[in-house]
Amino acid sequence: VLNRRCVEAAVMTGLALNCHINKKSLFDRKHYFYADMPAGYQITQQRVPIAVNGSLSYSLCIDNKMNQMVTKTVRIKQIQLEQDSGKSLHDDTRSQTLVDLNRAGVGLMELVMEPDMCCGEEAAAAVRELQLILQTLGSSQAVMAEGQLRVDANVSVHHPGEPYGVRTEVKNINSIRFLAKAVDYEIQRQIQEIGNGGTILNETRAFDSKLGCTVPMRDKEGKQDYRFMPEPNLPPLILYDAKSLPANMNHQQVINIDWIHERLPDLPSVIREKLVEQYGILPEHSFTLLNEDGLAEFFESVVKQTQMKPKKVIGWILNDLLSYLKQHSLTVKESPVTSFLLADLLNLLEKKEISSTAAKRVLAELWKGEGKTPLEAVKEHKLELLQDQKELEQICQAVIDGQENEVIMMVLR
């Protein structure tokens, strides 16, 4: 029995990726024997999938500097609904495979991309953007480490102007970082193999994250014949739009593509543009804001609570707060410095009650998470800027009467 939420998620994802949604899609059986698939077949959509011909746009930094970003696109061939198999754990020492069937039968979306990417960095950036889109839509939490998003990379090489070479499929990639490594390794391996006069086999390889290389997978020999046949238990999936909506059908049984389209949330690319427009920050800044879970919300929260201009606030968020978080491997949610505290601190700076050097020192204090307010930290370490004219004159005079070097130090501060 097909789960309605699966269909909605597939339609939302298809629409977000500019796909054509097939109003009639079909289910098929894909037959093969494996311990984690007790039925002996997997239900999938081989003939007519639910969505086709879309595109995914993503950004890349050139030259590793955050200053210049280019936009690239990868075409989406199709999105299909299918069943998950169980999970296999290979125990080579005891010559057995342990099978966990808890996830068997659960609905999956498989996204097939066209070979438009040329290196590990592009693949990683594309998948990262896909991850953000899926999370924004709510289609999936897309955490690769938990198997919520699984990526198999198909890699081939060819000389410019010549047809695409034989491709290998690389599996067992568990993070975006490893995806880039696996793709780049496989490209190099194939180039070397061809350079040595060898040929590339159309095989499945596994990525070994410890060794950073790909190895042939022992259990996939030759070409599989899956003997696809229409799934007898699932008739065609019919989707409707505003025009074709049937009048007298049970509401719960009807999926309206237009209704879903109207309710799509803003995609990451749109959110980034809005941040740039609303706050006057740079595209690279909004890219980083969306790349860290919760950081954009944190930034907006601080901006609301402070008089400091967003263009100045962003520096504190990206340079100071973010680097602290990274150093201590903390997520934004785990930050000991809340948006309220940071806004409070930035207000002191804006009102010129402290200098920016003092502000950085206060931030370091707040980072300890001892429950102090910025004002308390300032008073504790006597970081207030002197405002009293007479007092300042006295100090300056005393110094000038003393040594020249001290005057220079005072001015620089």
């Binding site: 079909l26 069937l101 719960q252 999926i255």
Partner: protein, 92 residues
């Protein structure tokens, strides 16, 4: 048309079925001949049928609610060998 040895080996491998004797092969041969009669029907311009109920059969969509489960013990009893709630299978 005879069924070749290569096709037989391929089918045996895919379906894990044994065509032990020539009688089995004969039967397979006859079954294929019988099914081949389908080709005699002219299907030009006719859409393949998915179900005899055609448009009257809608794919039922269920709500995303958990309605069964918590039967680990019963399911594991099906297996000859288990290890810590995993089914045990041969390697590979």
């Amino acid at each position: 048309q005879k069924v070749s040895v290569e096709v037989l080996d391929h089918l045996e491998h895919l379906a894990l079925v044994d065509f032990r004797d020539s009688e089995g092969v004969e039967r397979l041969q006859k079954a294929i001949q019988f099914a081949d009669q389908l080709h005699e029907v002219n299907t030009d311009g006719v859409e393949p049928m998915d179900s005899v109920l055609e448009d009257r059969w809608c794919l039922y969509l269920r709500e995303d609610e958990v309605t069964e489960g918590n039967c680990t013990k019963e399911l594991l009893e099906n297996a000859r060998e288990t290890v810590e709630e995993y089914f045990v299978a041969p390697p590979g």
